[in-house]
């Protein structure tokens, strides 16, 4: 399960692929105050990345992969 909503948090895990982009957008729209937990996430497809950039949810946990975390921080300006 790459994406789920739990405890007011959108949790992303493993590789979030291009096909998940619309679902992610929908989820973030449905729960506008949700926080983002990307700890177990290993890669985010560009399409999902730009959804995150457009929505700018508050990030609770950054990915464990340092490079990905660095890039995401830069992209999400947090």
């Amino acid at each position: 399960m790459t994406m789920r909503y739990q405890n007011k948090t959108v949790i992303l895990a493993d590789v979030v692929g291009v096909e998940d982009a619309e679902e992610l957008l929908g989820m973030l729209q449905k729960y506008p105050t949700a926080k983002l937990d990307m700890e177990a996430c290993t890669h985010v497809h560009t399409a999902c990345l730009q959804v995150l950039m457009a929505v700018k949810p508050a990030v609770k946990k950054w990915p464990e992969v340092p490079v990905l975390a660095h890039w995401l921080r830069l992209a999400l300006k947090q």
């Binding site: 619309e22 992610l24 890669h43 497809h45 560009t46 730009q50 950039m53 890039w71 992209a75």
Partner: protein, 976 residues
Amino acid sequence: MSVNSLLEQFITEGREFLQAISVSLMALEENPGDQELMTELFRHVHTLKGNSGLFDFPAMTRVLHAGEDLMDSVRHGRVQFNVSIADALLDAMDFVSHLLDEVDAAGSLDSSNDAQALALSHMLRALLPAATVAVVTSDALVAEPVPTQLSVRDRLCAIVPSVQAQLLKVSEDTRREMFLWAKKGQPLIWVHYQPEAECFFKGEDPFFLAMQTPGFSVAGIHNRTPWPALEQLDAYRCELQFGGISSASRAELEDYFRYVPEQVELIELPALLMVLPSGDENGGPVYEDFVVEALNLLERGDVAGLRRVTSSLLEFSSPALWLSSALRWLLVLLEEPPAELFVLRALIQSVQSLTPPDWLQFLQNHELSVGAVATEFGASAEETPPEDPILELAPARRKALQALLQAQGSILALPVDAGFEGRMRAATTTLLGCTKTVGLDSERDLLEQASSTAREQKNPAPMQAWVARFAHRCGIAMPATVVPNALQTLSPVAHPVTPVQAAAVVVPTEPVVVVVPTAAVPEPVPPPASTPVVPVVHEAAPPVALVAEVIAPSVVAPAPAESAALQDEHVAARRNSKPEDTHAQSAKTLRVDQVKIDRLMNLIGEMVVAKNALPYLANRAENQYGVRDLSREIKVQYSVINRIAEEMQDAIMQVRMMPVSFVFQRFPRLVRDLSNKLGKEVQLVLEGEETEADKNIVEALADPLIHIVRNSLDHGLELPEVRRANGKPEKGRLQISARQESDHVTIEITDDGRGIDATVIKRKAYQNGLISEERLEQISDQEAINLVFLPGFSTAETVTDLSGRGVGMDVVRNAIQKVGGTLQLNSVLGQGTRLRLSLPLSMAVTNVMIIESAQQIFGFPMDVVVETVRLPRQRIKYFKQHATTVLRDKVIPLFSLNTLLALDTPQVANDQNELALLVLRMGQEQVGLLVDAFRETTDIILKPLPGVLSGLHGYAGSALLGDGSVLMVLDHKELF
């Protein structure tokens, strides 16, 4: 379908497309206005490009893409079709064909082709009208256009502000590493990657691609346009762009981004741009003192002192401060070898103002100094002349000198008028004084040279250039306004340069920052980003649609009138096309490997042989077992099987048949190219292209025919002026026609050129020692003409690259004879030449006549048998020792087969003392062959003799007969 078979199919189809493209191009040259042809041509290029996109051949796709864009412009009337476009496209298609060969041979493409691909695609794009750039493509299917008419330096200046802002996102440590890296002579390249909006549909993941960029430090991930309200956000339109700095080499980056070269901009950055202090700007009151002290130390050239002062201040400051950051940079700059004085000064002064030095301004004002900076920081260390050091001058002197130089600069910048000469002299004198003062005598000659050039040309530029150079050597910054032209004169890269040129630019003496544009910043060429919609649409189509097109290339055949509406339909069609849609369109033709057909061929051969055993069986049933009814039934069954087998054989032969157009289709191009090269005007007429023959025969025809056509063009047809003088139309006529005559295909190559001069041939043949003097006297003109088929014969006085090497017609004749064909040459001097090739329809099944001699059976191909005669012994006459007979008023030489085969038995006559005489055709003549008895004729599959036996003289091959025995088939040409 496996990738491999897909690739094979692509190669086969690719060749067909290339052929079709070149045919259409040639037709278009005749009829430039033909919309239908134009559309067809576009579609071919378009499809081929799309197909190539399925594989890992970026070089091929790029060239085809450029070709497609060009064709699209032509199709929409933005460019007039002309010969240069045709030439360019033909060249490009040759290149693609070469790539296909390489793929076929190696299975992949070497990256060595990339450069040529780029050059070709630029060449094609150069033919696009400038207006195309302005053609706004529909919404944002394509990436936003990159500014086009900017010089490299302008481009650098244009991006630097945003780059600088983004660079702050890169950590100071990383930037320091980059800076030190650059100092070692490595380039720093700014990578701006802007994926196209539709890239997700092509399966791309730009984020991933950007992350994996070699040596990359990301600086910015941005959206191109502000994000819309979430409800309107289209997650599948890529809006992002990536920026960052890479320490990898340009070649490495170009290779890495080879699939998206038009979306990536690579700009070499001056290392100085890395020097950006950042941090907390508040705190520490002691800056003023430090700045004063540091500047003093700097003026005195006390690098060690400066380093010490900087270090100690750094120790007292919090590392997070902006000041500390600046100090750390200062230390980096002071590392051996220390940076330029003014660079250090600028950085120290920035500590005072707490704003980072405006390196951009700095770069612009110190156009020449930039070179020095680049040198100092390693970008082009080897290129700096060692005798050009920056002078260390006392501040007061420097100031005075600066004032003088600036004054001279203003004088030089005045418009050219009557007083120009005098001003130049005055300025020269002043400047000569300056050189003397600072002790730069080496500059005097250069100055005088510049001065005289300036006066001659009435152009102050050389002088301005000198002033700029001199100022640089004295470490003086000149305002850009004073030396405007000088900048242009001095820095070759400041001129608009085409990307291709720029890629090769090695700035020889000027240590100017060399900023080489990438493919994404073409100058006179429109940027790929703003090319018309269709190609992009195509790329956006999902792979499935491409496969559909592979299978049915003619699915989208737009009528000319529809072409405008085509684009939208295209998109819709592609989007909607699902795999199941393609089934209905796919199964009309079948591509089968030739090996499979050959196997069928062999099997039917065995079937024929097996079937032929039935009559033997019937005979045995009747004679040996006396069951007559069974014998009859077997015969009835045999006739049924025989009919089916024959039909089957015929059907399989049909499969192997292919039209001679396979060979003919290459002639229009060949004739076009050759006639252009030779300066001749030729009208090529092709007839009967649909005539079919066995694949092997048609393929065997290719080389001989090309040779013949070349000969006709080179030797046969005359130059237009000669033709006019001889009362012929200027345009020569070369006709190649094919037709089927019973079981033969006849091909005639006719030209209306100068014909073959029999006397010249005779003389040449005699001179080359090909015929004896005696024969020279006797030989008829027709025989003389046939001498051209002798090995080593050449009439040409000089060897050209087209023909004249004496390996020609004999090779042609051998090739034709090898497939069982004959050829006949006729020529009338001054009127033309006709060469007639006669080829069997198929080589697979041979009809042979079986004869008996010395109690063995032998076969003779039926096509050489003229007749069979029972010859009474008394009609054999002897001329000297040689037996002859007169048959239908013709003298026919007689040979005994037993003698020819060295069998030690005389030929056997029948009861009436008649011998069996087989009359054979030998070229133009007839020969009689005495044998013992005639048997039936039969169809056999002739197999060449295998292994050791293949060296056996006199045999064409062997075949299996119905009763299982082996028939040796004789080769009459080798027998006598």
